[in-house]
């Protein structure tokens, strides 16, 4: 086996455990207060039903009300609500529901023209972008994909002039073999009433970006490759890399699954995006981890995450391939395995609130250990040094790494945090067992919002205390490394 030349990277797991990931639901539409008026009673039918006590009609007396004149001046059938709504200029939720349903049908039915019919024909740039999106989406093996109304800024309008709505649109989708349940991506559409009906005049980032933009949104001519456990997406900078490494990614996925002993509930597979364009990498999924070279982004379920115990059912992986194109493939395997480890067990993690006890060392240490457990310490290099030299240089840890250290913006500090985290897991696997490591990590993930998630995992899984573990880890570090 080739000796991996492990460079120090800052591969991160979740973006953060802060509240930004805990926000469920959709942005609330503006609530309009009802004026203080008497409660409405259902209006009677506009056509007068037969009434037993009704006298004979007077000469010239109407028996029914005149046909309604709607807001556009067109005569509609008396009581016709639909006619008044459309001609009245009001962009209503029901209209948007129908508009989005037609858009979904066009996507599902592979009808490109119908899909693009939703777009303002005068907006050439948007037409091109949406055409590109359609082409990309057709390459993704979706189990389901549909657009859904989320909310509308300012509520509905009753005015014909310049009828325009800014709408939060959810793209509910489930990638076959990757997502255990439909997840959602959000868009912010500007919709106007055109001569032929509603039209989209702009598609922008949503207020809550929620993984926007996905590769299919921002990449022209997206390369998509599928394997049993992996859906690989790549831009032109990494298309060849993706093709040459697709089978290796599948092997990396199988490697992670084969080692997991924590039971069912893991992600069934992975969606991996590859690029060597740094700007593209930093912008994808709005990940916000500019110092990283690999990232795993949890994806929210279509339903409110809080209803599922604060867990996110799936993740998306993005990798900056710049460092791996010309290096030993084993280096790439490590980062793929690392990120896949995150994605594999992400569905277990309670992300409903901020973590009250630092445990990023568990998150990153486990991914580091899992991706490198086949290598002995003497086979690993850190910052060009042997593991022994690197460990000697930095000395034994006095405590478990803090969250701030693990995700420090100082790459040296972060690298050392990853290293100490990795070594802590190696110590745990050696003193207890790899199975206990899985159980320990699982416990911490499921209780991630607890103020004592690590302490409790130490007690309930390892029958020790955090202090005893730390002392034993430091002693092992000094003696073994």
């Amino acid at each position: 086996m080739a000796r991996p030349t492990v460079v120090a990277w800052a591969a991160c797991a979740v973006l953060t455990l802060a509240g930004s990931l805990t926000v469920g639901g959709i942005a609330a539409a503006k609530v309009r207060e009802e004026p203080r008026l008497a409660p409405a009673s259902p209006a009677p039918a506009l056509t007068a039903p037969a009434q037993a006590a009704a006298p004979a009609a007077a000469p010239g007396e109407q028996t029914v009300l005149p046909a309604a004149v709607n807001a556009a001046g067109e005569v509609t059938t008396a009581g016709s609500a639909a006619g008044s709504a459309k001609a009245g200029g009001s962009i209503t939720q029901s209209e948007l529901d129908a508009f989005l349903a037609a858009h979904s049908t066009a996507l599902k039915g592979k009808d490109r023209a119908a899909f693009l019919a939703a777009v303002d024909p005068k907006n050439a740039d948007l037409l091109k972008q949406q055409g590109q999106l359609y082409d990309n989406l057709q390459k993704i093996p979706f189990a389901s994909a549909a657009y859904r109304f989320g909310s509308m800024d300012g509520g509905e309008s009753t005015f014909a002039q310049g009828a325009q709505a800014t709408v939060a649109v959810n793209f509910d989708h489930q990638i076959t073999g990757v997502d255990t349940a439909p997840v959602e991506e959000q868009y912010r559409w500007t919709v106007v009433r055109g001569a032929t009906g509603l039209q989209v005049t702009a598609v922008d980032a949503p207020t809550n970006r929620r993984g926007y933009p996905a590769p299919w949104d921002s990449i022209a001519n997206l390369t998509v490759l599928t394997r049993k456990h992996v859906v690989i997406m790549a831009d032109d900078t990494s298309s060849s890399f993706a093709k040459s490494r697709a089978d290796a990614l599948e092997s990396d996925a199988q490697y992670d699954f084969a080692h997991w002993t924590g039971g069912t509930g893991t992600a069934p597979g992975f969606a991996v995006f590859l690029t060597s364009n740094r700007d593209t990498y930093e912008g994808i999924y709005d990940q916000g981890r500019d110092e990283s070279v690999g990232v795993t982004v949890p994806m929210p379920a279509v339903s409110d995450p809080s209803s599922a115990g604060g867990t996110y059912p799936s993740s998306r992986i993005a990798i900056d391939t710049t460092h791996y194109k010309n290096l030993d493939p084993a280096d790439a395997d490590i980062i793929f395995k690392h990120e896949m480890t995150h994605a594999m067990i992400d569905p277990f993690e309670n992300l409903s609130g901020r973590s009250e006890q630092d445990h990023l060392w568990v998150v990153e240490g486990f991914a580091e250990w899992e991706s490198q457990r086949m290598y002995s310490p003497t086979e690993l290099l850190y910052d060009g040094d042997t593991l022994h030299a690197y460990a000697t240089k930095h000395g034994a840890p006095k405590a478990l790494p803090t969250d701030a250290q693990v995700y420090s913006s100082d790459s040296d500090a972060s690298s050392l945090g990853y290293f100490y985290s990795h070594m802590a897991m190696r110590y745990m696997a050696g003193k207890w067992s790899p199975e206990k490591v899985d159980q320990f990590v699982l416990y911490v993930y499921k209780n991630a919002t607890s103020a004592t998630c690590v302490d409790d995992a130490m007690k309930n899984v390892l029958s020790t205390t955090t202090d005893q573990f730390t002392q034993g880890y430091a002693s092992w570090y000094r003696s073994s490394l």
């Binding site: 007396e61 009300l65 005149p66 309604a68 008044s84 009001s90 014909a160």
Partner: protein, 441 residues
């Protein structure tokens, strides 16, 4: 004597019948038991004409909250229905659109002046960050609208005029060439301001050292009636101001002295005559004009309910010469002496279930619309005199009557009117009929 009183107002209706005959081709014949005839009248009056709907306009569909009624204006050529998100104007001739105006100050429409002056109405809106002075103030942006064209003549934050950044508008009216705005702040220092209706320029300001409560303000014609609690005074004072100048009208017939004793939350229903009510104490009190002693009125709950339910538009309180009527399950009217008036001869009064809509608009007597009931299934437009005498001005066609409610199952509508038309409005149309124009002649 009541017969004589009744016959006076009947005459115009009888004349109108001749004009109407061409349009509705005659009138209907009532049964032999003419329920509209006064017991003291030995002669039967002619049956009232039946009036048809001239046009119907539906409200927006699936936007029930936005379609909620915020006010209604009647102009010579257009009528304007206010919704939460703006104003929709219709041509009186056929109901076709005249103009639409999204909330001119931004945000939602809080309310509209009860009427217009010289073709200009006042709208209060929540405003936006760009149009209001203080984010905390609500209903703080005032606009004047030319109802013929829909043109916004001016828009200004109310708090600028009040000098209090938190102040908004609780009451507003167009009268005497002025936009007259009462502050929503009960604190001293805000008061009432009047802006030139054409330009928005401030013309007068009522001294702001007294507390003003919402709805302690009404405008009728060129008179502004207010109730305020001033420093050092133990009770509210009712005043009548001249809308054009802000000067207090001398010797105005207002409740004062003992009439306001113990009146803790006075509200003003009408400025001419001045009608003040109070629901903050028990028994409830009503003061009509210059009556010396407030009258604890049984049945005043009906008026209070109307005021509470329709405070923004006061749509269900109609005032005539010497009489005030509120809509409700049954007509609740009060005369100039402050005492309850029992209308005599309402077509539906004998039914177990009956309802009445007060008609808001220009009239020399109070007008109500009774809903149809078994035995008299058509709704009727009635005039109520100060002594309670009723004249049926017209019956409404069965289709219109059924819309308003029948057999004790009424809807909750508002009725506006002038000499030419009745306008029936559904406050929450949601795709159904929002405005029905019933042509009176």
């Amino acid at each position: 004597m009541s017969g004589n009183v009744l016959r006076g107002p009947v005459l115009p209706s009888l004349i109108a019948i001749g004009v109407l005959a061409a349009s509705v081709a005659g009138t209907i014949a009532l049964t032999g038991k003419d329920s509209t005839a006064s017991a003291s009248s030995p002669t039967r009056t002619a049956p009232p004409p039946v009036r048809n709907a001239a046009w119907v306009v539906n409200g927006a569909h699936d936007a029930p909250s936005l379609s909620a009624l915020t006010g209604f204006w009647i102009g010579p050529d257009v009528v304007v229905r206010g919704g939460v998100d703006g104003l929709h104007a219709m041509k009186r001739a056929d109901g076709s659109p005249a103009w639409d105006l999204p909330a001119p100050g931004g945000g939602d429409v809080c309310g509209m002046s009860a009427g217009v002056d010289a073709g200009v109405g006042i709208v209060a809106t929540q405003g936006t960050a760009q149009t209001r002075v203080n984010a905390a103030s609500e209903c703080a942006v005032i606009s004047a609208i030319d109802i013929a064209s829909g043109k916004v003549l001016w828009t200004t934050p109310a708090s600028m005029s009040f000098g209090d950044p938190d102040a908004g508008a609780a009451d507003y009216a167009a009268a005497g060439g002025m936009a007259i705005i009462d502050s929503d702040r009960a604190t001293a220092g805000t008061g009432i301001v009047a802006l030139d209706l054409k330009t928005g320029e401030q013309k007068w300001k009522h001294p702001g050292d007294c507390e003003h409560r919402p709805h302690a303000f009404a405008v009728s014609g060129t008179k502004v009636a207010i109730a305020e609690v001033c420093s050092g005074q133990p009770q509210a004072t009712v005043k009548v101001l001249d809308a054009a100048t802000g000067a207090e009208v001398p010797n105005a017939a207002v409740p004062a002295g003992a009439a306001m004793a113990g009146v803790s939350h006075p509200e003003i229903v009408s400025a001419d005559p001045v009608v003040a009510v109070d629901d903050g104490t028990t028994p409830k009190a009503l003061s009509f004009g210059g009556v010396a002693t407030p009258v604890a009125v049984s049945g005043l709950d009906g008026l209070m309910a109307a005021l509470t339910a329709n405070a923004a538009t006061r749509a269900q309180v109609g005032v005539g010469a010497g009489v005030l009527c509120a809509g409700g399950h049954q007509a609740a009217c009060w005369g100039a002496d402050g005492k309850a008036v029992a209308p005599r001869g309402l077509p539906n009064a004998a039914a177990e279930h009956h309802d009445v809509y007060a008609v808001v608009g220009n009239a020399d007597v109070a007008r109500v619309v009774t809903t149809g009931v078994p035995g008299h299934p058509r709704a009727s437009l009635c005039r109520v005199a100060g002594d309670g005498g009723v004249v049926v001005e017209a019956d409404l066609s069965q289709a219109v009557s059924d819309y308003l409610g029948k057999s004790g199952n009424p809807g909750s509508y508002s009725v506006y009117g002038d000499a030419k038309d009745l306008f029936l409005l559904d406050p929450h149309p949601n795709g159904r009929a929002a405005v029905i124009d019933v042509r009176l002649g």
